[in-house]
C-alpha cells in the first residue's frame, strides 16, 4: 500500500483566465502534518479548495489513495474522507453542537436525545470538553474549532484541511489546538495546515510546502527549514518584474498630517492601533490576513464603528471625527475604494455613468430630489475618458466590464467626490495586467497632486512599487514603519510575521 494518501500533479486552476494555481505538484503522506505556507494570493486556499471539492481543477490530476479522483462538490470529497475546516467556520450558530455534528446525516425521524447522547460519547472519545447541548453561537473560537474537527472525524475523514485555524485563537487555545492536531495524527489522520504564523508551521508540521504566485516553490522536511528559509522562499520572486515597476530611488516628502489614528480599538480585529497619513504621499499598509488593516480604514471612513467604550480617537486635519455611517466621511473628504468591489463597490446592473454619478450624489450636502440625465452622462463621459475605462459606451452595465474596468469605475466613483484622503483597499486584486499599470499610474498621480493616499495591499511588489512610506500591520496594529527607500520584501515580511 502506497504511503501517499493524496496527490496532485500539474494542478492548474484558472479564474477568468488568470491562474490561481499553475502546474502545482503536491503529495500528502499518510499520518503526516503538512504545512502550506505562502503570501496572500499564493494559491494556498485554491489548492486546498480543489482537494475539498469546493472548486474543480482546470487541468491536472488529483489522486486519493492512488485512485484518480476529481470531486465536484464538498460532499463527494467528504465521502472519500477529505474534510476542510474553513477559517470562517461553517457551523450553524443557532443550532446546538450535537445538531451541527450530525448535520447532513439526519434521518427521517430524529430523536434529539439520541443525538445528544451519541454526540456526548463521541466528543468524550476525542477528549473534547464541549457540551453537546450548547448553542454553537455562544461558543468561543477554540470550541467552535473543536466542533469542526469533531465533525470531520465523525465523517471518518482521512485528510483534514485546516485553513488558518489559529487566526482567532488565544495562546492557550492554540496550545490546546496543537495537542488536538497531534492526537489526530496519532490516529492516522493526515493534516494539511495553512498558516501565516511560520513558527506554528515549524513547530507543528512534519513537512512544509511553500507556494508563491500560484506555483510550487519547495517541499521539504520541517526540520530542514528555518524562518529565514521560508521567508526567502515565500517572497523570493524576480524583483526585475516590470509589472510593478522598478524599485523606488526617491520618495515624496511628507506634507501636512491629514489623518491621525490614535489608539483605535475595535475588538477583536483592531487593537490599540495608531498611525498617521500625510498629504502628497502614498502610505502603503501591508499585513497578512487578520492584521486589522482593512478594518482600521473602514472605521476611518465610517463603514465600521470603533469600540463604544474607549475606542480611541481619529483626527482628520487635526480635528476629532467619529463617523457612524460613510456619508459624513465622504462629505469630509474621505474616499474608501473597497477591496470587495462586487459586493460593496458598485451596482452591477446599473450603467457605468450612473454608478459614477452615485459617488457625486453622496457628496451633496442634502442629496438630490431630481437627477439630471445630462449631468449623469457628462460625469460618466468625463471619468470614462479620464480613467480610460474600456467600454463601448457609458450606458453599458458594470457587470459586463472586465475586472480591471470595473475597478476603474469604483475608483472613478470615489474620485468624482474630489476627496482629500483616498484609501485604496487591494486596488489591483483580480485586475488584469494592463489595468494594474494604469491604476498604479493613477495612484501616483493623485499623490503628486497633493492628495493623501493610502494603499492597503497584501501583495508585496505592489506595496514596494507604490509606497513612499510603508506601515506594517500585525495582530490589529501597526508594528513597523519603513521608508520606501529602506524597505525590502524580507524586512516587511519579517515585521508582518514576528
Amino acid at each position: 500500500m502506497t504511503d501517499i494518501i493524496l496527490s496532485l500533479s500539474q494542478a492548474t486552476k484558472l479564474y477568468a483566465g488568470v491562474p490561481a494555481i499553475e502546474n502545482v505538484d503536491f503529495e500528502l503522506r499518510r499520518g503526516e502534518i503538512h504545512a502550506l505556507v505562502g503570501e496572500n494570493g499564493a494559491g494556498k486556499s485554491t489548492l486546498t479548495k480543489v482537494m475539498a471539492g469546493v472548486v474543480t481543477l482546470t487541468s491536472g490530476q488529483m489522486t486519493v489513495g492512488g485512485v484518480s479522483f476529481a470531486p465536484k462538490t464538498p460532499l463527494e470529497a467528504r465521502q472519500l474522507g477529505i474534510a476542510m475546516v474553513f477559517q470562517e467556520n461553517s457551523l450553524v450558530p443557532t443550532m446546538t453542537v450535537a445538531q451541527n455534528l450530525f448535520l447532513g446525516q439526519e434521518k427521517f425521524y430524529n430523536r434529539l436525545r439520541g443525538i445528544y447522547i451519541a454526540a456526548q460519547q463521541f466528543l468524550q472519545s476525542l477528549n473534547f470538553d464541549v457540551t453537546p447541548t450548547a448553542t454553537v453561537g455562544g461558543l468561543g473560537a477554540a470550541k467552535k474549532q473543536m466542533v469542526e474537527i469533531a465533525r470531520a472525524v465523525l465523517h471518518k475523514a482521512k485528510v483534514i484541511i485546516f485553513d488558518e485555524p489559529t487566526a482567532s485563537l488565544t495562546p492557550e487555545e492554540k496550545k490546546y489546538f496543537f495537542d488536538l492536531v497531534r492526537d489526530l495524527k496519532k490516529r492516522g489522520v493526515s493534516i494539511i495546515f495553512i498558516s501565516h504564523a511560520l513558527e506554528e508551521a515549524l513547530l507543528l508540521a512534519d513537512r512544509i510546502t511553500v507556494l508563491r504566485d500560484g506555483k510550487h516553490v519547495v517541499t521539504d522536511d520541517a526540520s530542514k527549514f528555518d524562518r529565514a528559509r521560508i521567508i526567502q522562499a515565500m517572497v523570493g520572486r524576480d524583483l526585475s518584474n516590470t509589472l510593478y515597476g522598478a524599485r523606488k530611488d526617491s520618495v515624496r516628502p511628507s506634507g501636512r498630517r491629514v489623518l491621525t489614528v490614535q489608539n483605535l480599538k475595535m475588538a477583536p480585529m483592531v487593537k490599540n492601533n495608531s498611525l498617521s497619513v500625510f498629504a502628497g504621499q502614498i502610505t502603503g499598509v501591508f499585513g497578512l490576513v487578520g492584521a486589522g488593516r482593512t478594518e482600521t480604514f473602514k472605521i476611518v471612513s465610517g463603514v465600521l464603528k470603533r469600540d463604544f467604550f474607549h475606542g480611541g480617537e481619529i483626527l482628520l486635519n487635526e480635528k476629532p471625527v467619529r463617523y457612524r455611517v460613510p456619508g459624513p466621511a465622504v462629505k469630509a473628504g474621505i474616499a474608501y475604494v473597497t477591496e470587495d468591489r462586487k459586493v460593496e463597490g458598485f451596482f452591477e446592473t446599473a450603467s457605468i455613468a450612473r454608478n459614477i454619478y452615485l459617488g457625486l450624489l453622496a457628496k451633496f450636502p442634502s442629496g438630490r430630489t431630481w437627477l439630471s440625465r445630462r449631468e449623469i452622462n457628462s460625469a460618466g463621459k468625463t471619468w470614462i475618458e479620464r480613467l480610460k475605462v474600456r467600454a463601448t459606451g457609458d450606458e453599458i452595465k458594470v457587470v459586463e466590464l472586465s475586472g480591471g474596468n470595473q475597478q476603474k469605475v469604483v475608483i472613478a466613483k470615489s474620485l468624482i467626490q474630489d476627496p482629500e484622503l483616498i484609501i485604496f483597499d487591494e486596488p489591483t486584486r483580480g485586475v488584469d495586467v494592463g489595468a494594474i499599470v494604469e491604476i498604479h499610474e493613477l495612484i501616483n498621480k493623485l499623490a503628486d497632486e497633493g492628495k493623501a493616499v493610502v494603499v492597503i495591499s497584501s501583495y508585496l511588489p505592489e506595496i514596494m512599487a507604490l509606497s513612499d512610506r510603508i506601515l506594517v500591520s500585525r495582530q490589529g496594529k501597526v508594528v513597523e514603519e519603513f521608508s520606501g527607500l529602506e524597505a525590502t520584501e524580507e524586512k516587511i515580511m519579517y515585521a508582518a510575521i514576528h
Partner: protein
C-alpha cells in the same frame, strides 16, 4: 445642561476630552537611534542651556557658565544662582536667566556687571532668544511654580505660561502672551514669534499684535526650546514624551491631588528627564521588559528627541533616543560649525552630531 451631560457621558465612554490617546511616532517622527549613538563631547553636572557666538559654544551648567572651544570646556564665570536660560546677543553681549526669576544682560561675555537687569514679574524664565529688533524674547513657564518644579506645574495642569519682550535700552518688560500651557522656548520667525507650549503639545505663532496661530499641534512629546537651523527652519527639542499612563493621570484630579500630597515627588507618575535609577519608579504596563531587557518601544518614562522643522513649522525628520537609551531629557540644541550640539539633561551629557550626515540618515 447638555454640555454637562455630554461631559459626563464622555468621561464614561472615554470620548471627547476624556479620550486617553497619544499620537504615534511616525512619519517624520519615526524612531531611530541617531541621538543615542551621538558622540559625547563632555559630561557635566547640571547642563541646562546652550548658546553660540558663531565660533565658541557656551554652556550653562548649574551656576557655571562654560565655554567650549577645542577639546575641553573652560569656566568663564560662576553666578550666585543656577542659570535657567542663556543667550548670546548679536552685539556680542550675553543674556542669562538666573533661577528663572531674574534676567541679566551683559555687554560682553566677560563683563563683570550686567548692563540691564529684569526682575519683578518674572517667575520661571526658561528660554531667552535675541529678536531681530535688538530686544530679547523670554519665555516664562509658570507664574506659580519655579523653573525646576515643572512636573508639579504639569500635574496641576498649569496654564500660566507667558512670553515677554525685554528691552535692554528702556529696561522694560512687555508681556506678549499669557495663559500658555507652560511656555518653554521661542524663536523669531519673520515678524512673529514661534513659542513652544509644552503642556498643550504644540507650537504657537504669536504676531506683533498678539494674535495667536497654532503652527503644529498634537505632538507625541512635550516640546521645549527652539533654535534656527541652517538652510531655513528650526530645531525643536522635546524634553519628555507623552504616554497613555500620564494622559490618564492628567484626567484624574483626585488622584493627582493625593499623589502630590502623599507620594515622594521622585516616584510620582510624571514624565522624567531620566529613568531606570530605582525599581520603585512607576512604569506603564505591557512590553516594558522581557527577560530583563528594556524594549525600545516600551512606553517611556523618559525620552530623547529633537525634531527638525521646516520653515513652515512642519516636521522634516527627527533624532531619537528611545526607551532603552540613555540620552534622554533633551532641553537645548544649537548649531556650531558643522555640528549640531545638544544637551541631554537626563545623563548630564553634551552631545555632538555632524549635520552633514544627519539629513540623509534621519530621513530614512
Amino acid at each position: 445642561m447638555i454640555a454637562i451631560i455630554r461631559e459626563i457621558a464622555n468621561r464614561f465612554l472615554g470620548r471627547g476630552d476624556a479620550t486617553i490617546t497619544v499620537p504615534s511616532f511616525d512619519g517624520a517622527l519615526k524612531p531611530n537611534q541617531i541621538l543615542e549613538q551621538a558622540e559625547t563631547l563632555f559630561e557635566c553636572e547640571a547642563p541646562e542651556d546652550l548658546a553660540t557666538d558663531g565660533h565658541s559654544l557656551f554652556i550653562a551648567d548649574g551656576t557655571r557658565l562654560l565655554r567650549f572651544a577645542g577639546s575641553s570646556p573652560t569656566l568663564i564665570r560662576t553666578f550666585e544662582r543656577p542659570i535657567s536660560a542663556l543667550a548670546v546677543l548679536p552685539s556680542g553681549g550675553l543674556a542669562v536667566a538666573l533661577g528663572g526669576r531674574e534676567v541679566h544682560i551683559y555687554d560682553s561675555i566677560t563683563a563683570e556687571t550686567p548692563g540691564a537687569v529684569f526682575t519683578g514679574e518674572l517667575h520661571a524664565v526658561n528660554a531667552l532668544v535675541a529678536a531681530p529688533d535688538g530686544t530679547l524674547i523670554a519665555t516664562d513657564g509658570s507664574c506659580e511654580r519655579d523653573v525646576g518644579d515643572w512636573a508639579r506645574d504639569l500635574m496641576e495642569l498649569g496654564e500660566t505660561g507667558r512670553v515677554f519682550r525685554l528691552d535692554p535700552k528702556t529696561q522694560t518688560a512687555t508681556q506678549l502672551a499669557g495663559g500658555l500651557g507652560y511656555a518653554f522656548g521661542a524663536v523669531a520667525s519673520g515678524s512673529d514669534i514661534l513659542v513652544s507650549e509644552s503642556w498643550r503639545h504644540r507650537l504657537v505663532s504669536i504676531a506683533p499684535d498678539g494674535a495667536r496661530k497654532v503652527i503644529l499641534r498634537h505632538l507625541p512629546v512635550y516640546p521645549s526650546r527652539l533654535v534656527p537651523a541652517t538652510g531655513g527652519g528650526f530645531w525643536l527639542t522635546a524634553f519628555i514624551a507623552r504616554t497613555q499612563l500620564i494622559e490618564f493621570v492628567l484626567r484624574e484630579p483626585a488622584y493627582r491631588r493625593r499623589m502630590i500630597a502623599e507620594i515622594d515627588p521622585e516616584y510620582w507618575i510624571v514624565p522624567r528627564l531620566r529613568s531606570g535609577s530605582s525599581f520603585k519608579e512607576p512604569l506603564q504596563g505591557a512590553h516594558i521588559k522581557t527577560m530583563g531587557v528594556m524594549k525600545p518601544w516600551a512606553p517611556p518614562r523618559s525620552y530623547g528627541l529633537i525634531i527638525r522643522l521646516g520653515a513652515d513649522g512642519s516636521p522634516r525628520y527627527s533624532l531619537h533616543s528611545r526607551a532603552d537609551g540613555l540620552n534622554h531629557g533633551i532641553v537645548a540644541a544649537v548649531e556650531v560649525g558643522g555640528d549640531l550640539v545638544v544637551i541631554a539633561k537626563g545623563p548630564g551629557r553634551v552631545l555632538k552630531l555632524p549635520l552633514a550626515v544627519l539629513d540623509k540618515e534621519a530621513r530614512l
